[in-house]
């Protein structure tokens, strides 16, 4: 009797989750399923024919370029971002510096998008401020070998502008978890600064560093806005190929290509995120676990 009442109340409470579930299903899960099913079917029947797109040299080159762009900006971002994060973490935890740096990093890393492309058009575009200054003051023509800002080198430069700040944001908590006692213990045992980083600090932070770098990789892989605003001609990377497939009106059946490309992207990003989650678990065993 009592149990049935509790069961009914439990069901009623669970029904309260419906609005949330409906929004997530309609606007996140269904679109993802549409992509996966669409990429793996042809005229409503299961088929792998869509996957032949991965044999197309243009598509392969786009995936190679996307991977290279993500890997190089993740590497630069991880190293530079970790240094900046360290410089911030060694300051006052409630200081002005830290507040300003984390706020600025939050803006650039998460909400920049199109605006970052225009930041670099203003700086290093054909009539950019720095371009003109270098030409007039130093006689250096940065575009002597062609205008690289709107191609891969430009994408690498602009992507570091949001990758470094993202690293600062995701790596700061790990650095905050470093306890002064570890350093003190090393010094008490006669260890040098080098030995501390080589045998204590480095190994403890390595999983967090690796996990953050993977997050940066996935972030660059899925980024669209900055590249779309910067590159209006051609489609060197996967997200821009998807744009071309979606907006192309001349070729019928390009929507299928969009789904196939999107599936390829999901596979890469999900694989990277799973690896990241595994590393994160390893990190929390030490860095956050020490607080327990």
């Amino acid at each position: 009797m009592r149990r049935a009442g509790a069961g009914r109340a439990g069901l009623l409470a669970a029904a309260g989750l419906l609005p949330f579930a409906a929004v997530v299903v309609l606007f996140l899960l269904i679109p993802t399923v549409v992509v996966v099913v669409g990429a793996l079917s042809d005229d409503g029947r299961p088929s792998l024919s869509g996957l032949t797109a991965f044999g197309d040299p243009t598509v392969l080159r786009a995936f190679a370029r996307s991977t290279w762009l993500s890997a190089s900006t993740a590497a630069i971002g991880a190293v530079v971002g970790a240094l900046v994060a360290y410089a911030v973490a060694t300051g006052a935890p409630d200081g002005v510096l830290r507040r300003v740096v984390t706020s600025a990093c939050g803006v650039l890393a998460q909400f920049g998008g199109v605006t970052l492309a225009f930041a670099f058009i203003a700086t290093l575009g054909v009539s950019g401020v720095v371009t003109l200054w270098l030409r007039d003051a130093l006689g250096v023509d940065v575009f002597a070998n062609g205008v690289w800002l709107f191609d891969m080198p430009g994408l690498v430069l602009v992507y570091t502008f949001f990758q470094v700040p993202l690293m600062v944001i995701v790596f700061l908590p790990a650095l905050d978890g470093v306890r002064p006692q570890w350093r003190e213990a090393t010094v008490t045992l006669g260890g040098s600064t080098w030995q501390y980083w080589r045998h204590v600090g480095g190994p403890l932070l390595a999983p967090a560093f690796g996990g953050s770098a993977l997050l940066l990789f996935a972030n660059a892989m899925s980024a669209y806005a900055t590249a779309a605003a910067l590159v209006s001609q051609g489609a060197p990377i996967v997200p821009l190929q998807i744009r071309a497939a979606l907006t192309s009106e001349v070729l019928l059946g390009r929507a299928d290509l969009g789904q196939t490309l999107a599936l390829g992207m999901v596979v890469v990003v999900v694989a990277v995120m799973v690896a990241q989650a595994l590393l994160q678990r390893r990190t929390s065993r030490w860095v956050a676990g020490s607080a327990r």
Binding site: F27, T32, G38, G112
Partner: protein
């Protein structure tokens, strides 16, 4: 001591280099958007932000959309998370996972698959750019969840609710006059992050052909880069001010410290 001062020097060198790398483009934007071909200064590009009808329309659309999304995501997520905390602890992991999922599925992938869903949305609600609110609520879930989760962990929801209920408060009173004031910081932070997200979102708006601010910035930039640069700098500054204001709000820990409690007691956290 020498190791310490060397560290200080290294620290400031790193910070100065980073500041230079990040400030040069921002200063260049200011210079670019105020210069004239003859070498003088003019505020024309900035005035265009409020003069040019398509830009003004786009700014208004983005501001409305930002406000609507912030309200919607909190109205959707806060009751859900309270329900999970109070009645459905078994659903906690699932809700958290679903909220973090938008970080794992790239926005451009969702756009590819969302056409059938948006065909229905347009059919039922019309083609206003405000219908983007549904897609944006999903995009905002990771940020809003993190903010609200931190807030819920810093108070003892169960005790507050039981105390209020046993004193005869009805559920709306519990929600609006007991829980909400205690969660003000978390709710504000979820709202600010959502606003910053919506003001900058480009992928959905551009590929679903809605004229929001970032889409307009991109379109104007094809003809007049100066105006787009001015608009870009302005929206970066707005987002920065929002986030800085957020970091100045007293966090849950700070409030406890001010009350003289050094650290929250272990029971003051909801079990994970």
């Amino acid at each position: 001591m020498s190791g310490r001062s060397r560290l200080q020097v290294l620290r400031w060198v790193v910070l100065a280099l980073a500041a230079a790398f990040f400030l040069v483009p921002l200063l260049a934007m200011l210079d670019f958007s105020t210069r004239t071909p003859t070498g003088g200064r003019s505020g024309e590009d900035w005035a265009a932000l409020l003069d040019s009808p398509p830009l003004v329309r786009a700014i208004l659309a983005s501001v409305q959309l930002a406000a609507l999304t912030a309200v919607a995501v909190i109205a959707l997520l806060l009751p859900t998370m309270l329900l999970v905390t109070l009645r459905l602890p078994w659903a906690r992991r699932t809700v958290e996972l679903l909220c973090l999922l938008p970080l794992a599925v790239p926005a451009i992938v969702v756009v590819v698959g969302i056409a059938p869903v948006y065909a229905w949305v347009t059919y039922l609600l019309g083609g206003s750019s405000l219908t983007l609110v549904f897609a944006y609520v999903v995009l905002a879930l990771p940020f809003a969840h993190r903010a609200l989760d931190a807030g819920l962990r810093s108070i003892d929801v169960l005790t507050l609710v039981e105390a209020a209920r046993s004193l005869g408060a009805r559920w709306p009173t519990v929600l609006l006059r007991v829980l909400l004031p205690n969660l003000r910081g978390a709710v504000l932070s979820a709202a600010f992050l959502t606003v910053a997200l919506v003001l900058g979102e480009f992928t959905f708006a551009s590929l679903l052909s809605y004229d929001t601010l970032p889409v307009a910035i991109n379109a104007v930039g094809k003809r007049d880069a100066g105006v787009s640069v001015a608009a870009s700098l302005a929206s970066l500054l707005v987002a920065f001010v929002l986030l800085l204001a957020l970091s100045l709000l007293p966090g849950p820990g700070e409030r406890a410290r001010r009350r003289g409690r050094l650290r929250p007691s272990p029971t003051f956290r909801s079990p994970r």
